[in-house]
Symmetry: C2
Subunit: 309 residues, 2 copies
Amino acid sequence: MARKENQTLIITDKNQMRTWAKSMRSLLNTIALVPTMGSLHDGHLSLIQEARNHSHLVVVSIYVNPSQFAPSEDLSTYPSDFDGDIRKLNAVPGGVDVVFHPHNLYDYGVESATDCAGMADVSCLEESGSSHETWVRVERLEKGMCGRSRPVFFRGVATVVAKLFNIVDPDVALFGKKDYQQWRIIRRMVRDLDFSINILGFETVRDADGLAMSSRNVRLSPEERQKALSINRSLSKAKSAAERGELNCKRLKNLVVDEIQEAGGELDYAEIVEQESLEVVEEIKSPVVILIAAWFGKVRLIDNIEINI
Amino acid sequence: MARKENQTLIITDKNQMRTWAKSMRSLLNTIALVPTMGSLHDGHLSLIQEARNHSHLVVVSIYVNPSQFAPSEDLSTYPSDFDGDIRKLNAVPGGVDVVFHPHNLYDYGVESATDCAGMADVSCLEESGSSHETWVRVERLEKGMCGRSRPVFFRGVATVVAKLFNIVDPDVALFGKKDYQQWRIIRRMVRDLDFSINILGFETVRDADGLAMSSRNVRLSPEERQKALSINRSLSKAKSAAERGELNCKRLKNLVVDEIQEAGGELDYAEIVEQESLEVVEEIKSPVVILIAAWFGKVRLIDNIEINI
């Protein structure tokens, strides 16, 4: 099971993953997990490199989780490039010990579960019989923003992350703060369910033009990408305004909305919320975060900026 | 931390519980967990004794979980006798290594969580701010029977068991099949969330008169207790009838209902369901279980019988 320099062990079977983790733990190794859906970009790679600073061993999971996509969403077109991902991982300084790449985490060897297996254009919403039926709900944090636009999203995210935690048994797990609401939900889940795992969040990695890195960016046309720069621009504008003393959230939100709409983006939401509870605020009195989702063509992008006043 | 013969280590702090489990695991011990709400009777004690056959070490948790009680339910009158429990545990052949007896598993050191802390006559239903908000839902199995009568019950049970699993990190956990729906829900949760824990179910232990042992039995008057014997009698009758060829569930249910009502019990539900999915069946074609809940005075009792045809 030893990892040679620049060579990553690929595990596809969950029992084999458990066995590896158990044997490494018995040798007193600590394990860091970086959960991903593949199509790795520099945002992922910086998380993965960071992971090495927090544990002896690094596991990266690559799994496009079907249960977080509603039937209307882009599961079937979600970008995928496993060979490319492995090449990138092999080039990470310090390397990666294991890539956990399961075929289907919802297949329990019972007939009726196969509906959910095929990664087809279905969510796991309306299953019956003995197929998967257990969901982790983080009831308040899952409600607004992305939770409003994507009704099964956070249910699916929290559940698959709980599954990965139980299979990989990490000491620490690393998440990007680009998915801010997700990061807060995972932290809350870990606290509330008493997982013995340290959840670390890291700053969003951006391209030179300011666009937050996302696996979905590859689906933007050059023109759409140009328009999408309005997201980060609008967030920076609002932050500057707040720092100059504009604390009224309605006016700050208008800055954001105008900038994105003028660029031709279709706003899904823009909210200014308290950083931990994600409760909407009307006047900035303590640290907040501005969270945005917007459509450019057929691509939905999210981004955010913290304002620590 | 060593346990002397007939002396049980009592741990009230969850971090201390984790530390103990981790250190025992590093010595390659396996751990069995028997989750209880205290007021131990011979049903519990036989589970605890059985646990010794499945692991090196035995942990018994004693925690009356407030989140599984609705505000209208009997949290405040639920029987409690910690000193008596410890005496009983010290007398178990082979003994118990740890009693995990936390004060409050929903206190995360944040102000707003204290509402839920005091074991007062409230459920954790309507909390806000940064208090507990994560719930494990086993969406199909939690719906019928006790789930219909007790709306937050299985949500609370699944969640607290997930918490105990994450704190104690057992290899095996033992449950009584008297709480049949609960047992099925825990098994399903463990499968769906990929807990690496073997869930074992054991037969209901009965008093000499046939009444299923329950911590709530102490609250029955002698007269109510006499009436309550109709539960087990009715189940045995229905099972005999099925074994003699009566496979129509409506007629079998009538046998049960009549017996209990004639004795003066108030039926909450009587259902004949498939053993794993707990789906209601109309005609017995494969193994089923009859599940009953009924009130005798102010005490609600449950019981069941498997019919393996």
